[in-house]
């Protein structure tokens, strides 16, 4: 799994590519920690290229949300694939982390 950070002006995009699982989850936390530490408080995690997520991956996303909120910002997710959507629905996490259709939409109304 790979993570790329892109500064989009009003927010920061984290592009996650591959499988978000037990092995890659810590890297996601570290990546978001780093972005928030560098001053980006609004994060969009782009999951278009994330084909799979397990409970650790989901835990990492919630952990990242907490980090962003603690910094006074927010974390949103966009472009989820089918399996990720199913995990979100199954755990009701879609009520906390509602996926946006595109990265641009995520903070469009703020």
């Amino acid at each position: 799994m790979q993570f790329a950070i892109e500064d989009r002006g009003t927010y920061t995009e984290v592009v996650a590519t591959g499988r978000l699982n037990m092995v890659s989850a810590p890297t996601l936390r570290a990546t978001v920690d780093e972005a928030v530490g560098a001053g980006s408080r609004h994060i969009v995690v782009n999951l278009a290229a994330t084909e799979f997520m397990d409970s650790s991956g989901l835990g990492a996303l919630i952990g990242c949300l907490k980090v962003a909120r603690q910094a006074g910002g927010d974390l949103r997710i966009a472009c989820v694939q089918k399996q990720v959507q199913m995990v979100l629905e199954l755990t009701n996490m879609n009520r906390v982390l509602a996926p946006y259709g595109t990265v641009e939409e995520a903070f469009a109304r703020d």
Partner: protein
């Protein structure tokens, strides 16, 4: 011919043969030309062993009269088909329906052809194809087709027919009686072909095999299953399938537990192992696998051992997922505490248990991150997930499932019967190409069985039973000997190099009596049927036999594909295809040239007269042997007018 005379000839052949070969090894080898001398004496030794095994085969020739068939036995008649013409299948099915003994007829269509299904329904016979469980799993060709049908039918006995084998209505009446003996699991009848002219250019009929050889094997309780025209006892097949299943599961679980350990060890060395969660999971897997190995060693049932491994790993995974979930809840609670009212608040799953369970499921489990570990854990099971059916009654270790199946039945103590009466009328290939494909397939299958389950090492069979199976396998090695038999006279005639120290009185006095008695034995045992075609083809098809050995060895030892093809039943069109026998044509040209060169060398005094004479005779013999192929290439298929009543003989 009485048993006494056959046995006398066998004893004489072996004594004279040993006398000749011993002299060849000890006294006659020309070590200066060891590169041809040793191969030649090895080839001759091969042939002597072949003859000796033949002698053992016919030692107890058994001729049987069938007992009365039992009343009320249940029988399924299976017609196996893959891509043969629909008309041919239905014609056989119609004949099968007319079999007088009460039975059910089934068409086993591996081609899943709707037109054939329709035809079967119209005819009022059963129609079976593979179910969805076979998708993406090994199909095992004809053995798989029959195994599939075995699970969907219930007759005590089954008659197996190839698509082109039209049964005689009496076939069951004449054979079922043998099953009154509770230990008999197989009755094989001859395979006879109606579309073969008197001179049999393609060597389709096998009068020696479906005659003295099978009768001889029968005498030793070692008659083979030959794939068609045979009746099998379901109970024996099922027992075979179950024994095979237990063996396979035992082997697979032992191997899987071993490789699970190795996989965990490798995973610990990988970069992922830096993650404490991964380490903890690996510890859990390790503990479960160790416990299973201890239980297996203590003799616990495999179903329980494998179930417990799976359950402990599942538990570990579930605990991990539950830990993730509670960490999430804690995070969410913190988030909610941070900004009261601004967000929808904490969303706990409606049913946490179900969520945990689903996230622990194989497809979504965190263990999926350690693919190699998950794969070996999957293999620790008793359900043989890699196969469509856990229980495979017909052996699947070879492309010719028949020989392997009957060998396993013999090893389990079952008896077999060869009933020497033509009760089905088949169609032989009518062109050389198809015939070569078929022979290659048989030879490959036989060699596969030899390499996978060497009969000499097979527990449960008597020594002679083992030798009977081995004899047939041994005869398929003739290609290598043939090359030497073609090369030796060419080498002498063109280069003047003799593999023996001298061709003299010593040679003739030992060789000729052996050769004469040997041929006499064949003539007596063959009782007038021509065995000459068979002798010709066992040498003339040397490229096919060698290819069979090399491809089967590569397949068994290195897992390479055989390049397997189903034998087409319809004639392949086109003119004579000389390219099919290119190696043999080259050998024939070399032999002819060698004879001419040898004569010139004789005239110029370079070769000696006796050596030249013997080798020219040898060349002529080789050419006569190979000449059968010229006839075979030019053969244009069977012409119906040639059919006559005499062709069908017992």
């Amino acid at each position: 011919m009485s048993v006494f005379w056959v046995r006398l000839l066998v004893v004489l052949t072996v004594i004279l043969g040993v006398n000749y070969i011993a002299w060849r090894w000890l006294e006659s080898l020309n070590w200066d030309a060891w590169w041809i001398a040793v191969p030649l004496v090895a080839a001759e030794t091969y042939s002597l062993i072949d003859v000796a095994l033949f002698g053992l085969t016919v030692w107890r020739l058994k001729r049987r009269t069938p007992p009365e068939p039992p009343v009320g036995a249940t029988v399924d008649v299976f017609i196996t088909t893959y891509n043969e013409p629909i008309d041919m299948v239905l014609k056989t099915a119609e004949a099968a329906k007319r079999i007088t003994y009460p039975h059910e007829t089934w068409i086993l269509d591996d081609g899943s052809r709707p037109e054939l299904q329709e035809g079967a329904e119209k005819l009022g016979v059963g129609y079976i194809t593979r179910g969805p469980e076979w998708a993406n799993r090994p199909r095992h060709a004809k053995a798989g087709n029959l195994n599939n049908a075995l699970m969907m039918t219930s007759g005590e006995f089954m008659l197996i027919l190839d698509t082109d084998q039209v049964p005689d209505p009496r076939i069951l009446d004449r054979t079922l009686g043998y099953f009154n003996n509770r230990r008999v699991s197989l009755v094989q009848t001859p395979q006879y072909f109606v579309n073969v002219p008197e001179d049999d250019p393609l060597g389709s009929q096998a009068p020696l095999f479906y005659g003295p050889i099978q009768q001889g094997k029968d005498g030793w309780n070692a008659a083979f299953f030959c794939g068609s025209n045979a009746i099998l006892r379901r109970e024996a097949l099922m027992q075979l399938g179950l024994a095979g299943y237990v063996e396979e599961v035992e082997r697979a679980v032992t191997a899987a537990l071993k490789s699970a350990r190795a996989a965990v060890r490798r995973a610990r060395k990988s970069a992922e192992a830096a993650n404490p969660l991964v380490t903890r999971l690996l510890d859990d897997v390790d503990r479960a696998v160790d416990a299973a190995r201890a239980e297996q060693a203590a003799g616990a049932p495999l179903a329980e051992v494998t179930y417990r491994v799976r359950r402990s790993v599942d538990n570990a995974v579930q605990q991990m997922v539950a830990a993730d979930m509670s960490a999430m809840e804690a995070d969410l609670a913190e988030i909610a505490a941070m900004d009261l009212g601004s967000e929808p608040g904490v969303a706990v799953p409606d049913n946490l248990d179900i969520a945990v369970q689903q996230l622990s499921d194989r497809a979504w489990s965190p263990l999926g991150a350690l693919e190699s570990v998950q794969a070996v854990l999957d293999a620790i099971s008793v359900d043989r997930d890699d196969e469509a059916q856990p229980v495979m009654p017909l052996a699947t270790i070879s492309v010719t499932e028949d020989m392997a199946t009957s060998m396993r039945m013999h090893a389990m103590g079952w008896q077999s019967v060869y009933h020497h009466e033509i009760l089905a009328y088949g169609l032989a290939p009518e062109d050389l190409k198809t015939m070569l494909t078929q022979r290659l397939r048989w030879a490959q299958g036989t060699i596969q069985v030899l390499l996978r389950e060497n009969p000499l090492a097979k527990k449960g069979m008597s020594l002679v039973q083992r030798l009977m199976y081995f004899a047939t396998m041994w005869s398929y090695l003739s290609g290598f000997a043939a090359v030497v038999y073609f090369a030796a006279p060419i080498i002498y005639l063109t280069l003047g190099i003799l593999p023996v120290t001298s061709i003299s009185f010593d040679f003739f006095i030992r060789f000729l009596p052996f050769m004469i008695v040997n041929q006499l034995l064949f003539a007596v045992v063959g009782r007038g049927v021509s065995t000459w075609r068979g002798q010709q083809y066992s040498l003339a098809l040397f490229p096919t036999w060698i290819k069979a050995c090399t491809t089967a060895a590569r397949n068994v030892w290195f897992g390479r594909p055989l390049g397997f093809a189903v034998t087409p039943k319809a004639r392949q069109d086109g003119g004579p295809s000389w390219s099919l026998i290119r190696p043999q044509l080259i050998v024939m040209v070399l032999l002819a040239v060698a004879a001419i060169v040898g004569t010139i060398r004789l005239a110029t005094g370079l070769n000696e007269p006796l050596g030249t004479f013997v080798n020219v005779v040898w060349v002529v013999f080789d050419l006569i042997v190979l000449s059968v192929l010229i006839k075979a290439v030019k053969y244009e298929g069977y012409v119906t007018e040639e059919r006559n009543a005499d062709a069908v003989r017992d």
